[in-house]
Symmetry: C2
């Protein structure tokens, strides 16, 4: 069994996340960590009975409200409208009265209470024994899921059992729209909240079924939610169906003897569209309900488990030597799958569908952090995410025109593909998002060989982004290709010339586009690409400026960066982090202080552009400047520290990345999970300790374990084959699980993997460098391996 | 007499501005050009009868309302509140009924109508013969002033004469608060407008007197306005006094025979304060009215003329060969005097008190463009303006702390001294404002030798700004002092390292502070300055980075500037200017396109830091990049073009600067005059064609005329002496009008000026360089001298 900690927290277990305590203050956090989603629909992990609650939320991917973006001083090209994810009709609510007493865990007592998120069943289970203020005892058990296989469907199986004698139980299962929720602080990162966003169009209810239809006031999106139920009770039940504009309610009353149970299965379906009519949406949700009723609760459970079995077979990461990290990595994989599995033609937001943070927007995080994981584990999900980008190409082309550029300029943050960034130096100017999209496209194409995707979507994404770089940069008097006035990944530096990351990623973008166009000339012609254009791209790539500080023998993060003043880390008290809430941008921008891996990120994604010596020197230079006020940093620092031999430090960063949400490192997990950081824990395992690289579509490995761990094993797909890599202290075993042979390399030595022929090779000694230091007070916590529970 | 143009416009005359036509579309513009002000109170030039009207306005210096500054994404240190000048109680209104018909020039006809702004009397005269729709004829004449000598007072002398027989005349003289005014476009430069800003506190009226008191809703400022009258009519008059919250009205009715006149003299007084009570303010305005009544209308006229006689004696610029330019320069001098004469402890806003543009804020324009003129012509006004800056030192010190700096950080834009800029890259980051304040302080001290000002105000201004630079910059690995991440004067480039203008001005600031502290050690000690600190200032100044492009042999405007892409001027259609309304900041910032003189401005103010060859090369480099989308550019380009020998081009820029408002070059004169550009026309005459420089407090001249002009003569004060410089085609005469001898130089040759000993010297030939070109379509109009009216 699992070992309980002393203090309230998640119990450590390999395949589940369990919380035993009734900690009302923690509700908002656990609503995020216990959220269920399939990438299409998201349910936060709030209690069925509706209250107490933290920040309840039900989200539909791509369903947003517009809001005006105000400016003290407006400027050309500033977006006028923002988009905010809407908390839609809540279908999770099942209220309960026990002998006239509403079950509310703020009152009475709960001698037993626990919730469990099961990574293999894909369900959230709840078990509560509750004693009412007047002394009546009931046991409530529930299990819920958001179906990976029937993407419009969520379902809850709910049971109540009187423990101290017969009881009259009244259950109210609801669809509730426009639930009021709390406003947040004026922290700029906390999402704006909209009230009463839904306008009722229709409501209907009969027998065990009810449906509500609404539309949003400003964005004009339409949605429908419907529920149906199965009831199983000893003896007679009395039911009542009531609906009004914002409420659908099925009331079920029954006298239940001690030891027997009232059982309710609730099926909820959602449909939404900017195009389809309310009637069409109502038909759609009722059809989805019919499908779910046909499968039944057990059918949904079985499909869910089968889907996840397949996922874990292709994606699991096993870690020996740190049980908590093992759990955290599986938690991470599970949530990334939830965020991306069935998003299909819609974005994967930074918070998935787990909370309202960042207004529900998607950023470059998706392509750079989430898609590597999906590409190598659930390639169809990666394909879908890239298809979403492609579906926004017209908006991106329009934006490029508005910005005076050719090609496509994808938004910094968006739900529907239009730019929603209200601060251009950290938004519009961060053009690297376009190279990130191209990089993810190229990676997907190389890893899958998906020719159809290339023809329909991939090549156009590569071409339009290459065109952007071609127009954004220019040749200077020495014939070098410069990209001036842009913002790289590090948000504590903005509007710089020749950000090394941006330039190297643009270089890859230009080359990938040229190469793919040359390989498929007829497709290229359809996109209007001729030999002159590919030649220009190649020339720009070949002449790309890559800043270099000859005195320090390091790559400046951008031109001039290493000449800037150092931040006064010693004079910065711990409570002044994150710095952006305590110091003006102007001062952060002009000093050597780094929010998140930027040059170091370039050394991962464009590791082919750096020598090992440069990597070691750059890591040594940038570690003491990087404060990690972003969740996108520790995983990348782990990867590079592992590569240059700082394996213990990499392990510390591994834990930081993997546990960011479980330990609520950023104090905002209640706003939703950090999906990119979760994906980052996979990146550390596979690219960090596995040393996996895929430059130019060539798969290579250079594994090395930190001394604290006994084994890391991971699986991944490549070119339709499935491989497993098992890293031990001194040797690595590569195994082709199934599929065509895979050609790869181990620490530079070419190997071919064939089915039934595992290859075991020794690990060469790690390079020896003095471990770098971090800014005062910003070193990651020294990780002590969490023991395997007894 | 003056020669009329064919098309409606101002008539050219040496000492007045006359407009003969009734052009309703031009009303908003002429309300600005005909505005009267003494720097304390401002009356826009609207008609007495209230309507038709353009954008009526009555402004009190420093009287503003707060408004929240909204941000799509807020950030640390962003100002939460803005300030907007309030259109206060209008005391100009005198409505007239002729036989029951309200006089409204949109109806009936006006066979004769003209308005004249007289630069010597300091009054606005109006003469109208009006025929009512029913055929009744009257002549209305009025003259109004805002008193330079009684600064709380405005007055109007108003006469009506029936021309076609006896008429019943009813005159309504009003105080009108919360007059509704039109909102403007979403041009970011056009000021926000607040409605119903005034809340009534008190109103009273009796006999010919009325007073209203109000306060502003959010800023809590209090004001009182009062009026009193003298009436002179043939026969009986019936009068009525009515007051309510927002209205004070004296009604006068009389039967007036043909050929006789109803005469009304209206005295208006204003008082306002953040501290004083409503009762105190009411007493104050009534006292001011008593003083005005004592002087009487003729007395006010006499005082006004005497004040202006003295001003013209010390400040006049005479121009032979271009009558329109002669008029424009006097118009400019008159309005700059109006903006600065009696501001006293308050700011000189960018629009003076002539309109609501820029929200009524003061910028660095005042110190850099307006104060040179005032320092050398009305030094007391310059002193007062610097005293205003000094009075805001506590706010500036607080702002510096907020920004993590030492010393004082003056606001980019403000009314009360608090930062109101809602876009930090073009606001907070433009730290050069601090060096501009220091430069104006040093100039005033050098030109006046005002030891008392130095002790009380000047040294502290120099010290606190020097401290800012000392903390803002840092030494790099080579020991050079860098100032990174700031914005220079050119608003099409932002957040750059080592803006040459900023660094050179900071260098002067640091040296001036060190020198003055060393000269007055006991004062320095009181300010906490010791030898270590002055040594640090000197070191920073000596090691200051001054960017230099060795390949191009020019000074980059900032580090890296000359490596940036050129703006595509050929592809920029004329309607896309000003560029900031048609292109995103990101693209403007990263390219070689310049809104306004920046490096060229440095070559004027820090001409001592450049060789003549560098100046010529820099002018040749920067002219083709400068689009002059700012009114702060053409005057400076004139000065430098004159210096390097492009005298015809300098003449073109001279006309552009001087006529900017009279020709409405920026299409926004209705929002108020461009006081800095007006002052700039003086700068061109004196520093451009007069070649006057004052580096290090040493006065020098290097005069040269453009071929189109026959003579420029100007007067200025220096060290308490008054001198006159008369430039002719081949020679210059320097004359000490009165005072102690002045040591100066003529084209490098030292001369001493003594009373009664004019010095006449020949002008050496101008340097010969190929005249530079401007961006396509952005050359200044070739100036053809406007003939002297016959």
């Amino acid at each position: 069994m699992t070992a309980a900690r002393q203090l309230p927290g998640y119990e450590v277990a390999p395949w589940e996340l369990r919380w035993r305590w009734l900690d009302l203050d923690a509700l908002r956090k656990t609503e995020s960590t216990f959220a269920l989603s399939n990438g299409h629909i998201g349910f936060r992990g709030s209690f069925e009975e509706g209250e107490p609650r933290g920040l309840p939320g039900t989200y539909l991917n791509g369903f947003y409200e517009r809001r005006p973006l105000p400016y003290a001083e407006a400027g050309y090209g500033y977006p006028e409208d923002g988009q905010t994810v809407v908390n839609v009709t809540d279908g999770k609510i099942i209220r309960l009265l026990v002998e006239d007493e509403p079950v509310d865990m703020r009152y009475g007592s709960a001698p037993n209470h626990e919730r469990v998120l099961d990574f293999r069943s894909g369900t959230l289970r709840r078990h509560t024994e509750w004693i009412s203020p007047t002394g009546r005892q009931v046991r409530i058990t529930s299990e819920r899921l958001v179906s990976f296989t029937q993407r419009a469907i969520g379902a809850i199986h709910y049971e109540v059992e009187p423990l101290d004698g017969p009881a009259q139980l009244v259950v109210q299962s609801e669809l509730l729209a426009n639930e009021p929720i709390e406003r947040e602080t004026d922290d700029p990162r906390v999402a704006a909240v909209l009230e009463n966003a839904l306008v009722s169009d229709f409501h209907t209810g009969a027998e065990y079924h009810a449906a509500l239809a609404h539309h949003t006031r400003r964005s004009g999106l339409r949605m429908a939610a419907a529920m149906d139920h199965e009831i199983d009770a000893p003896g007679d039940v009395w039911t009542e169906n009531h609906t009004s504009d914002d409420l659908g309610r099925l009331t079920v009353a029954a006298e239940v003897p001690r030891g027997q149970k009232l059982r309710l299965t609730k099926y909820v379906a959602y449909g939404w569209s900017s195009q389809r009519s309310t009637q069409a949406l109502l038909s759609q949700v009722n059809a989805a309900l019919a499908g779910a009723r046909l499968s039944g609760w057990q059918g949904l459970l079985d499909e869910q488990r089968a889907f996840l079995d397949d996922f874990w077979d292709s994606a699991d990461v096993e870690i020996d030597g740190d049980a908590e990290l093992q759990q955290a990595v599986r938690f991470a994989l599970f949530h990334v799958l939830q965020a991306g599995a069935r998003g299909e033609t819609r974005a994967i937001p930074a918070k998935g569908l787990t909370g309202p943070g960042y207004d529900g927007h998607a950023f470059w995080d998706t392509e750079t952090f989430v898609l590597p994981l999906l590409t190598y584990t659930v390639p169809d999900a990666a394909r879908n995410a890239l298809q979403w980008r492609h579906s926004t190409l017209d908006k991106a082309r329009k934006r490029a025109v508005q910005l005076g550029q050719a090609g496509a300029a994808f938004p910094w943050r968006s739900i529907n593909g239009e730019e929603c960034s209200g601060y251009w130096p950290a938004g519009t100017a961060a053009f690297h998002v376009n190279a990130d999209v191209a990089d993810a496209t190229a990676r997907y194409l190389a890893a899958t060989g998906d020719k159809e995707f290339e023809a329909q979507y991939g090549l156009e994404l590569l071409v339009e982004t290459a065109r952007l770089w071609s127009s954004l940069g220019h040749h200077d008097a020495h014939g070098r290709f410069r990209i001036d006035g842009v913002t790289g990944p590090d948000e504590y530096t903005a509007i710089v010339d020749n950000n090394t990351y941006t330039n190297l990623m643009a270089q890859r973008n230009l080359r990938e586009a040229a190469t793919r166009c040359e390989m498929r000339p007829e497709l290229a012609r359809e996109l209007g690409v001729d030999e002159e254009e590919t030649a220009r791209w190649r020339d720009a790539a070949d002449r790309m400026v890559v800043p270099w500080d000859d005195m320090l023998q390091v790559h400046p993060q951008s031109e001039g960066f290493t000449r800037h003043a150092y931040w006064d880390f010693a004079g910065t008290p711990p409570e002044n982090y994150p710095l952006l809430l305590h110091y003006p941008y102007f001062d952060l921008y002009r000093k050597q202080v780094i929010k998140q891996a930027d040059l170091v990120l370039a050394m991962w994604l464009r590791g082919d552009a750096f020598t090992p010596e440069q990597k070691a020197r750059n890591v040594a230079y940038y570690e003491p400047l990087t404060v990690r006020d972003s969740s996108l940093s520790s995983c990348i620092q782990a990867v590079l520290n592992a590569e240059v031999g700082h394996l213990e430090l990499a392990y510390d960063y591994f834990a930081e990345a993997a546990l960011a949400d479980l330990h609520d490192l950023y104090h905002n997990v209640h706003q939703g999970l950090h999906i990119a950081s979760l994906a980052g824990s996979w990146i550390v395992a596979v690219a960090g300790f596995g040393g996996m690289r895929d430059h130019g579509g060539k798969l290579t490995f250079a594994p090395r374990l930190p001394p604290e761990l006994g084994r890391i094993a991971f699986r991944m797909c490549f070119a339709g084959s499935r491989i497993c890599v098992t890293i031990r202290r001194d040797e690595v075993t590569y195994q082709l699980v199934r599929g065509e042979p895979v050609h790869t390399s181990h620490h530079g030595e070419a190997i071919a993997l064939k089915e039934g022929e595992p290859v075991t090779l020794p690990i060469p000694p790690a390079p020896q460098h003095v471990p770098p230091r971090q800014p005062a007070g910003r070193a990651p916590a020294r990780r002590r391996p969490y023991p395997v529970p007894s």
